[in-house]
């Protein structure tokens, strides 16, 4: 044990280990997205998720059905209005999604323009608007409440419970993966000789944890007398904001039929 009394003087190479940093950043962003469920209580974030979910779905369906330029323009204006109501950081995320969607759909549909497809531009716009609309809904909503909103269309309890648990597992496992990676980062002085085998070990650890967690959750359900009853209430009151949101969306639906 004499080595414990002396100072080490090891030599080591330092290499770029951006894979740890990148994975850590991705996990952090995922964790913060889920954590944000607790801190959103103003503006569009406060809006009842059932309203957001169903009006977004209707809007996307109407967009896919319509080939009227005026209706698509009207929807574009609506999307811009929604974007104005978002936080700066979120706007930046939406902008990235918007540009990616434009780029990918132009790459796929764009060439058909040269072969006489007059609707190519409209289709690209429709795809982009649909992607941005769903993105806005996803970013501004508590995912658990979105799942609860599906209860209104009589999705079975057990399906919703599985979705709800999936979000919880994603959060807890991401947190665990983050902690393991941080520990790997601080212990791997120098460089990791085989990063991919280390990552596969981490994945194995997470897989084993998932199995263990699911068994223990089953035990916990058992202890709490689970018989299939699961509460799917959304603890938000329907107020002026929901009223305004409904009026705007009902107007859009009305205009869809008028402009046909």
């Amino acid at each position: 044990m004499d080595w414990l009394k002396e100072k080490d003087n090891f030599e080591f190479d330092i290499r770029n280990e951006s894979f740890i940093e990148k994975t850590l950043n991705t996990l952090l962003s995922l964790l913060s997205k889920i954590r944000q469920f607790d801190n959103r209580d103003r503006g569009i974030y406060k809006l009842h998720e059932a309203f957001k979910l169903y009006f977004t779905l209707v809007n996307i369906i109407l967009l896919s059905l319509s080939f009227n330029k005026h209706f698509i323009m009207l929807n574009s204006a609506y999307v811009i209005l929604l974007i104005i109501l978002l936080d700066d950081k979120v706007v930046l995320t939406i902008l990235k999604v918007f540009l990616t969607s434009i780029f990918v759909s132009t790459l796929i549909i764009g060439p058909s323009l040269f072969f006489g497809n007059k609707n190519a531009v409209i289709v690209i716009l429709k795809i982009t608007l649909s992607v941005v609309l769903s993105m806005i809904m996803s970013i501004t909503s508590n995912w658990h409440n979105v799942i609860a909103a599906f209860r209104l269309i009589r999705v079975p309890n057990v399906v919703l419970f599985i979705f709800d648990s999936a979000i919880r597992f994603i959060y807890l496992l991401s947190k665990r993966a983050y902690e393991i990676l941080v520990s790997l980062k601080i212990r791997s002085v120098g460089y990791i000789k085989s990063p991919y085998s280390t990552l596969s070990q981490i994945m194995y650890n997470l897989f084993a944890t998932t199995i263990d967690m699911s068994f223990k959750m089953d035990e916990a359900l058992e202890c709490r007398c689970f018989s299939g009853e699961y509460n799917y209430k959304i603890y938000k009151k329907v107020g002026v904001l929901e009223g305004l949101y409904s009026i705007i969306n009902l107007l859009i639906i009305l205009l869809f039929f008028m402009l046909r």
């Binding site: 889920i34 469920f37 607790d38 648990s165 967690m213 007398c225 009853e229 699961y230 603890y235």
Partner: protein, 233 residues
């Protein structure tokens, strides 16, 4: 009320409990003590009917608890209503989308009026001093807060026997004192308290009986808590 007769338990072929026999009467407060890996958690899980025993007999209030008994979902529900379990790792115990739902979960499995459910949930929130987090997502809470929510969720079912596995983990000193007071009050109300812990100093005055399990998975002390000496472990 609880009787374990010559219980032996193996987990993945490894011996976890070796020939354990004990009797627990209603209203007792018992500390389960032992080194890591001695089988404390396994014993608590056996008491809650969560683990199949390899040999021996478990009798709860005159009823033999075996796989046949636990196959009947109605009987199983009644049994779990009577004996509540607070897990060592709260992450495994919390699965609802808000703290309020978490505490109400067990009650909603029974035909209880929602008003009564709300009343009990609010009382539990108050008892554990977690009213301010009632609308938060449980799995994003701190370790100590999760533990309190897990205790409140178990307490809401008003079990006759409260089994706790390392309840003081991650809890701050002030909350530890509060939890001790709470357990003391519950014991005075006639609840049986069975608690696996390493922090027995914090529970000074609460436990009347100590059961020590050795690293060989056998009971090496079962008697007065005050007469039990830490040198056993």
């Amino acid at each position: 009320m609880i009787e374990l007769k010559n219980i032996t338990c193996r987990l993945n072929q490894n011996l976890a409990l070796d020939n354990i026999s004990l009797t627990i009467m209603p209203g007792e407060s018992i500390a389960i003590i032992g080194p890591n890996g001695s089988g404390k958690t396994t014993l608590l899980k056996v008491l809650n009917g969560l683990i199949n025993i390899s040999s021996g007999e478990y009798i709860f209030d005159g009823q033999k608890i075996d796989s046949k008994f636990l196959e009947d979902s109605r009987q199983r529900k009644i049994f779990h209503k009577r004996i509540g379990f607070v897990f060592q790792n709260s992450d495994n115990q919390l699965f609802c989308k808000t703290v309020f739902d978490e505490i109400a979960f067990g009650l909603l499995q029974f035909n209880i009026e929602y008003k009564e459910v709300e009343k009990r949930v609010n009382d539990c929130l108050k008892l554990l001093e977690i009213e301010h987090i009632k609308n938060r997502v449980p799995y994003t809470l701190s370790g100590g807060e999760k533990k309190k929510v897990a205790i409140a969720a178990t307490l809401a079912l008003n079990p006759e026997v409260l089994v706790l596995d390392e309840p003081l983990n991650e809890i701050d000193p002030k909350s530890k004192r509060k939890l001790k007071e709470l357990l003391f009050t519950l014991n005075q109300y006639g609840k049986t308290i069975i608690c696996a812990t390493h922090d027995y100093d914090y529970f000074d005055g609460l436990f009347k009986r100590a059961i020590e399990i050795s690293s060989e998975h056998r009971i090496i002390y079962d008697g007065d808590f005050d007469k039990w000496h830490p040198h056993h472990i």
